[in-house]
């Protein structure tokens, strides 16, 4: 029987349920699903396993991949070609261009995007928020004012988990807030040395240092969901995190708008930093080609896109999907996405590999995280950042 082998790191209950929609869709077409889940380290363990499989000459059919990894793998010449399918189903029109840049290699479709996460969200505990005035901040200064108000309530102002990718997620939101979309493009997407060491960047780092003062002392190494839990329980006021954290709220039986507030990170309204999961199709030979195409098609099936993304907290990768099944936050997310996509302010997230290749990304995260942990001063960070980028290229 035909079957697809899928390497992914969606192993939590909700994710698995979401993926099951896809599995059942394929099962209806008589295609078996061989699951290859590899969790851990935001996919780094999965990448190791993938390397082993590709090296052994036995790649899986489809692999969950992010950002520049898609390009790097395509470069190895191991990608399948989805052009025919994409043309037939008109993917070019419904997938945001910023995303297509990664789903295509050398002008050919190699991957089927599943969803779009956005990272520049701020999550607020409604009660604390109301107590602090109930006004959504729109820039960094207003944010600080609100955080001060939280502090005055005797709770942790900003719940943050101190691991490099979370530090990077916060940093990129601040960059976008402080410098605006153009600066973000220059500094993060182009890694322009002058932008990375200029005054704007200095303000970014200063703001980071300031934000650091709103953390609780135990933030280091904490997983994001534990931080979310702090906000849910009212022990903390706010958390900057991607839209996946909504899952924790929903799980705790909280409702958007009544129990919590989702808003764009202050100063980043109108822009979306995205992280998108995509299934890259590997070249696995003719006999599996058909199953592979059917899977790619199923991924882009609007029904799957809805079913999956309502669970996952993200928004569909297709912009033509109805938002009626989605909650308020997601509706806002979909609206923002469409707007940003049209305005050209839909930009890749650094922390999730959509802004720079792995080597550069990790080099930048090194500096960011060391600075946030007080191992580097702001001046040193401004000096180190372009150096590290250069060294990693």
């Amino acid at each position: 029987a035909e079957q697809v082998e899928v390497l992914h790191w969606w192993t939590s209950g909700g994710e698995a349920a979401a993926l099951n929609v896809l599995k059942e869709n394929l099962a209806k077409q008589g295609i078996g699903w061989k699951d290859m889940p590899v969790a851990g380290g935001a996919g780094s363990a999965a990448m190791t396993a993938l390397r082993a499989r590709v090296t052994a000459g036995d790649p899986p059919t489809a692999v969950q991949l992010l950002g520049f990894d898609l390009r790097d793998w395509s470069e190895m010449g191991v990608a399948a070609n989805l052009d025919d399918l994409a043309a037939k189903e008109g993917w070019d029109k419904v997938i945001p261009e910023a995303l297509q840049a990664f789903s295509k290699y050398d002008g050919h479709w190699v991957a089927a995007p599943v969803n779009i996460h956005s990272t520049n969200w701020l999550w607020l505990n409604k009660a604390a928020f109301d107590k602090a005035g109930g006004k959504q901040p729109t820039n960094m200064d207003e944010l600080f004012t609100m955080l001060d108000a939280f502090k005055a309530q005797g709770i942790t102002a900003l719940a943050h988990g101190g691991v490099p990718w979370q530090d990077g997620t916060l940093w990129e939101a601040v960059v976008l807030s402080v410098g605006g979309p153009d600066f973000y493009k220059k500094a993060v997407l182009d890694a322009d040395p002058t932008a990375l060491s200029g005054d704007t960047m200095k303000k970014v780092f200063d703001d980071m240092s300031k934000l650091r003062t709103y953390f609780d002392p135990n933030f280091s190494g904490r997983e994001w969901n534990l931080s979310t839990a702090l906000v849910i329980e009212g022990k903390a006021g706010a958390q900057e995190m991607g839209d996946w954290s909504k899952g924790e709220w929903l799980r705790a039986k909280k409702t958007p708008g009544t129990d919590f507030v989702c808003m764009r990170f202050p100063g980043t309204q109108g822009s979306v930093l995205f992280n998108a999961d995509q299934f890259m199709m590997f070249d696995v030979g003719e006999e599996q080609k058909d199953a592979q195409m059917k899977m790619a098609s199923a991924v882009e099936d609007p029904a799957f896109q809805i079913a999956f993304n309502t669970v996952k907290g993200s928004v569909p990768a297709r912009t033509d999907v109805s938002d009626e099944k989605f909650d308020d936050c997601a509706k806002k997310g979909m609206k923002d996405l469409a707007e940003a996509s049209s305005k050209g302010t839909l930009m890749g997230s650094l922390a999730h590999g959509y802004a720079q290749p792995a080597a550069v990304k990790e080099a930048m995260l090194d500096v960011i995280t060391q600075h946030l942990n007080g191992q580097l001063t702001t001046d040193a960070a401004l000096k180190r950042l372009p150096e590290a980028v250069a060294a990693a290229k």
Binding site: A358, A359, A392
Partner: protein
């Protein structure tokens, strides 16, 4: 067996060496050969491959294009690498010293005709049985000031208690030491216990008659006699320290910042997540050189000593 008829002639007969004899002589080597061949290929072949890779331009996957010393240049210009080396020095020394000291201490206690030895032994040994995939989270919580020990102490009313090493970049490496010692010291304890049990009881009696107190007996006689166990323990611990990986990943993930980076985590991340395989290989080569520097003299002395 074939009986050999006594030869009737006067000149002694000399049976010829048969093929079977030849096979018999070669058999031991033949049995060893597969293992040795496997080791040659899968250890030494791979080491050579890694060395070669460190001189290429490999990024995400191996590329056999000559890159000269570029990877080494990059390696030695990485601040992370220096942090990793410095951490290894701190971690290695403390880990080896503490495991040895605690292992020996428990072994000595356990050797005092303890009633509950059968219960206590597995308690000290079990950490060795668990992988950090299993225990990492528990440790992380326990050491986390907001969740674990500090929090408990605060709840118990000891408000000034402070134990925040896990989240303190300057101290985080010591939490790695704590968890590492917890894991390995039981095994070292078992080694020492075995060594203690092997000491001739008459020597202890002699020392008692000589007027030595229990403390003196341990300090002057028994512990010096455990020298070979110390050496074995050192080798076991040294290589575990150099190879420690799960420990750091489970506990701190290398953080806060990069405060707990070790050469092993450095190598893994450069090879597999940062797509700088040549730099990763270069760091692997440096690690192998470090291991060689420890192991080869040991092997040499071990194997030469037996020659009498």
């Amino acid at each position: 067996m074939t009986t050999i008829e006594p030869a009737p002639m006067v000149t002694p007969t000399r049976p010829r060496r048969s093929v079977a004899d030849g096979l018999r002589n070669g058999l031991p080597k033949l049995v060893l050969a597969p293992s040795f061949a496997i080791i040659l290929v899968f250890v030494y072949g791979f080491i050579l491959w890694t060395v070669y890779l460190s001189f290429t331009t490999s990024k995400m996957m191996p590329i056999y294009k000559w890159g000269g010393f570029d990877a080494y240049y990059r390696l030695w210009s990485q601040p992370n690498w220096y942090v990793a080396m410095q951490n290894l020095a701190i971690f290695g020394v403390l880990y080896i010293v503490l495991c040895t000291a605690i292992g020996l201490f428990i072994a000595i206690l356990m050797d005092q005709r303890i009633r509950a030895e059968g219960v206590l032994r597995p308690i000290f040994l079990y950490p060795m049985a668990l992988s950090f995939v299993v225990t990492g989270t528990a440790w992380k919580w326990f050491l986390n000031p907001g969740l674990g020990l500090e929090n408990t102490m605060h709840n118990l009313g000891w408000e000034s208690f402070k134990f925040d090493w896990l989240v303190n970049p300057k101290m985080a490496i010591y939490t790695v030491v704590i968890a590492g010692v917890w894991q390995a010291s039981g095994f070292i304890m078992a080694m020492f216990l075995a060594g203690l049990r092997g000491i001739d009881g008459e020597i202890v009696k002699a020392a008692q008659i000589d007027g030595a107190s229990t403390v003196s007996i341990y300090r002057r006689i028994i512990i010096p006699m455990l020298r070979p166990v110390f050496l074995s323990a050192f080798i076991v611990l040294a290589h575990m320290a150099i190879k420690s990986y799960d420990l750091v990943i489970a506990l701190t993930g290398g953080g806060p910042g990069n405060a707990t980076e070790l050469p092993s985590t450095f190598m893994y991340s450069y090879t597999f997540t940062r797509n700088q395989m040549n730099v990763g290989s270069a760091s692997a080569v440096m690690m192998l050189m470090g291991i060689t520097a420890i192991i080869v003299p040991y092997l040499y002395s071990e194997l030469r000593e037996k020659n009498h």
